[in-house]
């Protein structure tokens, strides 16, 4: 009988190994700066996010307003910092929510043969919808609040996580350590959590990073289309939406939030790529 390859060893020093990859290290550094800026927004922001100043509306970037002002004279840099809080929180909440749904669906379909077909078809059906359309439909049905945006995007991204979890579960279910636990009479729910879930965390983490990036992008998209978070809460998406009308005269209004999205999503992708390479034995270079 062939020796089965061991998926994904425990990595106590994963972060330090990740930091040794230049692209991933850059991603992590940039992300940390963004997160720190978001947390410290009230301290470092030069103005109040809602302070209107009609006199200084549509100011181009200057020393007073580093990234300029918008149509109501609000400081773009300040609003971007506050918007980062919303975008990152929504993105993170989507990952958590999608993970919970994805793990439950993935574990049950992967572990219990009889549930596999119905749950897998449900996952397929959910994936057949175009992401953003399904999200728009859900938000439209539920109402445009931050919580509903999280719920909608969570439902949209859960099937991807469910597939990843199911695929790993199918492999782990057959491994001797699961059989050993069964031979000891360990109850099935305990086996699922202790032996299966614990060993799908690595692929889950990789996929979660990508979904984080996608969720930030999708949230911005929903806000831009006006079906996202209400416009008085600053998010990068709503800022771009307001800037759209002034694209010719005041390009900076949408340029800087747009850049923030690009930089954040790119760093998350870099970290995700790094993690995937690190955890995938077929791509691993430094074992």
């Amino acid at each position: 009988m062939a020796v089965i390859s061991v998926p994904l060893q425990a990595e106590p020093n994963m972060l330090s190994r990740l930091m040794r990859r230049p692209t991933a290290a850059v991603g992590i550094a940039v992300l940390m700066i963004i997160v720190l800026a978001a947390i410290l927004a009230p301290v470092i922001a030069p103005y109040a996010p809602t302070k209107l100043s009609i006199a200084s509306r549509l100011h181009p970037p200057s020393l007073d307003h580093l990234f300029g002002t918008d149509d109501l004279g609000r400081d773009i840099l300040t609003r971007m910092l506050y918007a980062a809080r919303t975008s990152l929180t929504v993105g993170f909440a989507v990952v958590i929510f999608a993970s919970i749904i994805g793990v439950v669906l993935g574990l049950t379909s992967g572990f219990f043969r009889t549930l596999d077909a119905p749950v897998s078809r449900l996952i397929d059906a959910m994936m057949a919808f175009p992401d953003i359309l399904l999200a728009i439909a859900l938000v439209a049905a539920l109402g445009a609040t931050a919580v509903n945006v999280v719920v909608a995007l969570g439902v949209v991204y859960a099937p991807r996580l469910a597939r990843v979890v199911r695929a790993s579960t199918l492999v782990i279910r057959e491994l001797p350590y699961v059989e050993a636990a069964r031979a000891l009479g360990v109850p099935t729910p305990v086996i699922l959590v202790r032996h299966v879930l614990r060993n799908v965390t690595s692929p889950l983490l990789v996929q979660g990073t990508f979904i984080f990036a996608n969720a930030i992008l999708a949230e911005a998209g929903l806000s831009f289309l006006g079906v996202g978070i209400s416009p008085d809460i600053p998010t990068w998406g709503t800022m771009i939406a307001t800037g759209r009308q002034y694209m010719d005269q005041a390009g900076w209004i949408m340029m800087f939030p747009g850049a923030a999205i690009v930089v954040t999503v790119l760093s998350l992708q870099l970290v995700g790529d790094g993690l995937r390479d690190l955890l995938d034995p077929r791509l691993a270079k430094d074992i």
Binding site: M1, V3, P176
Partner: protein, 330 residues
Amino acid sequence: MSAAVIADRAEVAPLLSVQGLTKHFPARNGRIIHAVEDVSFDVRRGSTVGLVGESGSGKTTAGRAILRLVEPTAGKALYDGVDLFSLSAREMRSYRQKLQIVFQDPFSSLNPRMRIAAIIGEALDARGFARGKRRADRVAELLTLVGLSPDHASRYPHEFSGGQRQRIGIARALAVEPEFVVADEPVSALDVSVQAQVLNLLGELQKRLGLTLLFIAHDLSVVEYLCDDVVVMYLGRVMERGPSRLLYAAPRHPYTKALLATAPVPDPTRRRTYVALHGDIPSPIDPPSGCVFRTRCPQAIAACAGIIPPLDDIGGGHHVACIRHNEKTI
């Protein structure tokens, strides 16, 4: 093994009596994989029985079916008189502590994310005793029993070599104080230099703890050293079984002879007649009619396709399933 033991054989009821064990797996297009077909053998208390065959012979499936890690299709496994196959899942749970298994692959048989203390501790929890200090003491005791250091408890599996991992797997199986252990090719994934150590450990533990062993192997030479009785399987069926002393000295089935011929002999002056087996083991989805071995058997005749050879008793507990076993020329 002494003659007295052989004489006693019939009188003492076996600890485990496998009768007509059959396991079919569903395949594509409604076809059936005949993994194990009508396998019967006895395991006396305190003895070691070797279950031998090539890859695909169904030996591993048979071992797992006895422990109900795969559900058998038919047959009985009388353990101390109780048919394990007729127990409900709940009733089986209480039997699980008496029957344990040691796996072939020392790398995938330990959860990579659990410390050794947790891996062995899980077994202790299943047994339902020992908490806190007593639990840690018991883990240390088990690690010492299998020749590891108690300090190893706080480490992860990837910090160990294959042989050490196999010792941990043995410690886990012994944690519930089983009577009967299935050792599924416990050394075939290890370096040759380590194989002997693990085999010695198993033999020693068996004597010390009075274990009954079902030792699954693909190699008759490993089994010769350890086993009191041997069961030779091919394509899901028993070809020959009996006390190792008789079976090794005078193999009667052409398949056993071929297996023995391929096993390396550590004595250059002693030569075994080389019997070449051609081709691969046929598909268990569509096994040959009659004797399943006939497609590769050097002695096959037309009649072999006609009947499934019964396991004939040829004396001293030695059984062989070959219609030509009486002919002198074979």
